[in-house]
Assembly symmetry: D2
Homo-oligomer: 368 residues x 4
């Protein structure tokens, strides 16, 4: 195991910002390489505990493939306290979500494929990977500079593009575990110890997983359209490991085991680790809906994340203590269709319009 402290920024008073990068050299050249990061959003700390478990595992069980583990991936976000909480979802200066600053590769495949399309797979993949990394380096070298968030994101993205498998460890606010999984690799969803999966289409919205899988997915489609069958060569997932502002070492062990189960299936590790048997459900990303508070008030959250909720069943009680004389002090809200609530807002009081819940609609069972 090697540890490097990667510089990713500098604070006003002069302190360098660095992130720890742990590397294990794989014992087999044939095995896929892996990149795992955690805590890009400052309050979403549990991924660090999972990485801690993985570090201990790999120290005891040298992996076949190269492994890069990056906990505490956003020191500026982690250190940004506001009251008793961590204001780590967006840059406090610009408001930009720390997980939306990755580079949109936007490769001109017409030109690139013309030059490289005849290469054998390993050489083709290698050339494409080098292109993606070069694009990150070019962005970092912009003479007009890059934003604080871009500097961080581009440094992480460079590391991620080096790997065949990329896992980005997040959490929700008050949340059950769920997985963002690209549609082309839905079979992977059965290996992680996560019951709920959101199926992602091709496209780029700024997040790490998309930044990684999207160019490869486009390359695959392009080659297929030119008559060459080419799989999507790289895998990328976002794992949402429950609620934010929570460190639980025992639960981290369970999540580490799910990750190892996937890496076992992908032959990154020599040990055979079986996935946990559980019911798994999924919905398409477009069917993952946000419900915004139609009124302001104090909120009693009634629907538990991860427990299916029938149409019309109680979602929340909204309390309005300013309206007891009118007899409208409690409003029970529900939804008009069957859903699985995945997460809810962290605070128990909301302005009108606050995102109260995110729920899966039109969900279906994943075959085991």
């Amino acid at each position: 195991m090697q540890l490097e402290h990667l510089p990713v920024g500098e604070l006003a008073a002069g302190q360098p910002l660095t992130i720890p990068v742990y590397r294990f050299k794989g014992t087999s050249d044939a095995a896929p390489s892996v990149y795992i990061q955690a805590n890009v959003h400052g309050a979403e700390v549990q991924g660090n505990a999972v990485i801690l478990q993985l570090l201990q595992y790999f120290k005891a069980h040298p992996p076949l493939g190269d492994i890069t583990l990056v906990p505490l991936a956003n020191p500026l976000g982690i250190n940004q306290k506001s009251g008793e909480f961590t204001l780590g979802r967006f840059d406090p200066i610009t408001g930009i979500n720390w997980n939306r600053a990755y580079l949109d590769q936007a490769v001109h495949l017409d030109d690139w494929y013309l030059l490289h399309g005849e290469l054998p797979e390993p050489a083709l993949f290698d050339a494409f990977r080098r292109l993606l990394i070069a694009n990150c380096e070019q962005a970092l070298a912009n003479p007009w500079g890059v934003t604080t968030g871009q500097r961080l994101a581009l440094n992480l993205q460079k590391l991620a593009h080096c790997a065949d498998i990329v896992l980005d460890l997040h959490t929700g606010p008050k949340s059950c575990k769920h997985l963002y999984c690209p549609e082309y690799e839905l079979s992977a969803a059965g290996y992680f110890h996560i019951p709920y999966t959101l199926v992602m289409p091709k496209g780029f919205g700024g997040a790490m997983d998309e930044a990684v899988f999207n160019p490869w997915w486009q390359l695959s489609d392009y080659a297929n359209s030119r008559g060459r069958e080419l799989k999507v060569a790289v895998s990328a997932f976002t794992l949402e490991l429950g609620s934010q502002e929570r460190i639980d070492l025992a639960d981290a062990s369970r999540d580490a085991e799910g990750i190892l189960s996937y890496l076992s299936y992908r032959e990154v590790i020599a040990q055979s680790i079986q996935p946990e048997v559980m019911s798994r459900f999924a919905c398409m990303l477009k069917d993952y809906r946000k419900f915004h508070a139609p009124m302001a008030g104090m909120v009693e959250y009634l629907a538990e994340p991860g427990v299916p909720l029938a149409a019309g069943a109680p979602l929340v009680n909204m309390l309005r203590l300013d309206r007891v004389d009118a007899g409208t002090e409690v409003t029970k809200l529900s939804l008009n269709e069957d859903v699985i609530p995945v997460l809810h807002f962290a605070s128990a009081s909301v302005h009108q319009g606050t995102e109260l819940y995110k729920v899966m609609t039109n969900y279906f069972t994943l075959s085991g």
Copy 2:
């Protein structure tokens, strides 16, 4: 039941800030009057749910004494969101704790007692009460103005000084239920449904309960020193109803019942409501200690609020993911004496020096 919307301030864009004040006229002139407020700290919302239960109770069971109920007592604090949380502990402009802006009455008892010391009890108490209220009004009329927090606090304090019994409903961050109770009235601690009590000495630190009981306590002491036996005529408590950012109507019923049990004992209500039987513990306020993080890191909170913790037993695991190479990635912290942890910090990552836990030391059992 009457509802008044009391103006307590004005926002930059012109909106008035008001708080709802609910009043019940008691059926007996002899019964003590009661003032209960909730949510002076913006994230501490559960007291509103308790007041909701009390409102319903008093509507069904007209009280003997006058009752004033003030939920949502700090609209500016409640509405002050920062990320997914409520930054409602201190004024975001000045940093001043919303619960430290009450007026220090600092009555010159030498002068006042000379004029009023011979009055019979009711007249004496009435004159003193009028003085306290007049002091609040004078402070509000200061030609140099008062701060935003003082305007709020003085308006609440005026209401509170009108009552014989004052309850201020708060919560901790992640907390078990506990009570701040003045030493002269420790017997009251057995009526609320709260297992842990902090015994307060005479003195004024800025909080509502102290602002109310302190001048009466001083008056009682002064009279006693002049040879007249005078009880402390007014009761004031702060109830900490568990954790912040939580609304739970069922739990609010239990807390409302505890309050009614005390009011039953004080003959404010006609119904006989018995306190719940439970073990109750207490410590002196000076023995209620804060433990500050001796190092920074991710925190796994191991000690549960409300569960006694022996000296040397694990309090927290501190994770340092930047130090796995040195083998110092997990540090187990404990305390050197037997304590009852009462509350811990809300976030799972801390700077060095953050207040991790508040614990009772030298605690003792309260007789039932």
Copy 3:
């Protein structure tokens, strides 16, 4: 003059959020109608002072066209204080810029034009305007709700779509006056009392001016492509009136006069008001560049907004008090091309990557 208080939201503690809407009924049906709003970003207050001057003008000089004036357009943003400043650029909960929540109309012109393309101009414009307003209303009625920012933006956008001329009054951080002007109406830039203009292309990035002009510009292009010459029927501009956190009534008079000069030219008012003679410069929006701090430190801003800066001339001094022993305590930064600095960051200390300056490159003179 009529005043309506338009509800645009509700705060957690129950307070309604309203914005004042002032209306003047024009004396002529032929004159264009006007919508002017200010203070969508909470710290950008000077537009309110300009609207105050316009209100007084229109009271004294009844306009030919209908006028709607909306100061204090974002009460939640205005009231959001953080320390001694107004954190009013983005929603403190979500991080979303208040000026990026307007509805992308995205009209399917193929379908719509088929049905309406033969109408005479007034009927065509009227039908299109009704469509845009209906789209806003439909978005507001979404059963899944809308965000706090969308509710505000959609209410404002409905008002704006009713007008022929839309002005959105903003400011920069530390800034000279500048104008965002759509390319199709660059001649208008000579009427406002603003020396610097950014020329906007067709497209939608989320801001009010784009939300208003973009569908009309698309309609015009579409009709032209179908062989019918159709001007862009609606005008929309963003005026940046100097620096934030500043109210200056005298300067507001000058800006009000510039606006009246444009309205005079458009025959919205009966009086003839001539534009101030001044040198006016412009650049294309793509040439309006951000310069990000290549290092952290204390900043002495040397280049004054509005004063052309030659390539290589001093832009800022970066101070690093932690490096005096190395002799690198002052770094002078400059740019590699001739620019006009338009604005700089508000704080004198920056993290690496902070947007230090926005500058016009490849700028050109606007003919008077």
Copy 4:
């Protein structure tokens, strides 16, 4: 010149917080020693520029006395951005003012003087100084830990107690230059290049200057009461160097010269530097009054800091754009007595109760 990086804390993600400490060894043992710090409040950066000038001076002109210079004294505060500003006045977690966490020495002089009162002056002073430093060290070693702010403050206070002259460099929000000067050393006010002085009484409110001079002042009083004439052996001042969020190297030179003028008078440096001739005014600290906004609104600040304002002269215009129909859109506020406005609030919109201005009342001329 020696540079040490003093550790003062640790951030959640593991980064150490250090502050640069520059030391010059004096060439004469007889000369007083000096401690100067800057930027304890995060937005008050100009003192760093002054220290930069002093560093250059002392490199060129070795001082007679020992000099310790500490710029960037609060890295956590400096790095705490909120929007485009620095939220560096209070700990964002606790709300506690960074300049109120110094240790109240509260020496039991009865005991201490009994043991040391007969010592000759140098030995007496030396013993007392060792006691003050030992108290800081004991506080830092508290087994229950210290807060983040206390850790910083105690480390700075230890450095300060080593010196005979202590200068704490601050700024106001929008402010003219002013000096906090203890009453016993008012003659010093004529040496700094600062026209306005606030005369401080004995006592401790938590700030650095008080933490330093108060125990020595108490010692002097105590000795005098025991019949031994003892001067206050240590000098401490707070210099408010204009407005926050401003770096101006030229102005920093002027302030550095004022400091050198005082150090020349105190024979810390060999060069003779004369104070600038200017009118100087002062008032007692109790006459330094805060004026709180009696209403909310947009604020046009009319009274310029540092310019005397007659009773009744315009202080601010308060704008209320929500009240134009009622004709109460502009309210002119003034004060009832002659004052010198020293500083005003940084933002141009205020809630009711915001501290608008701080002004000197009952001011008097300091003789040159």
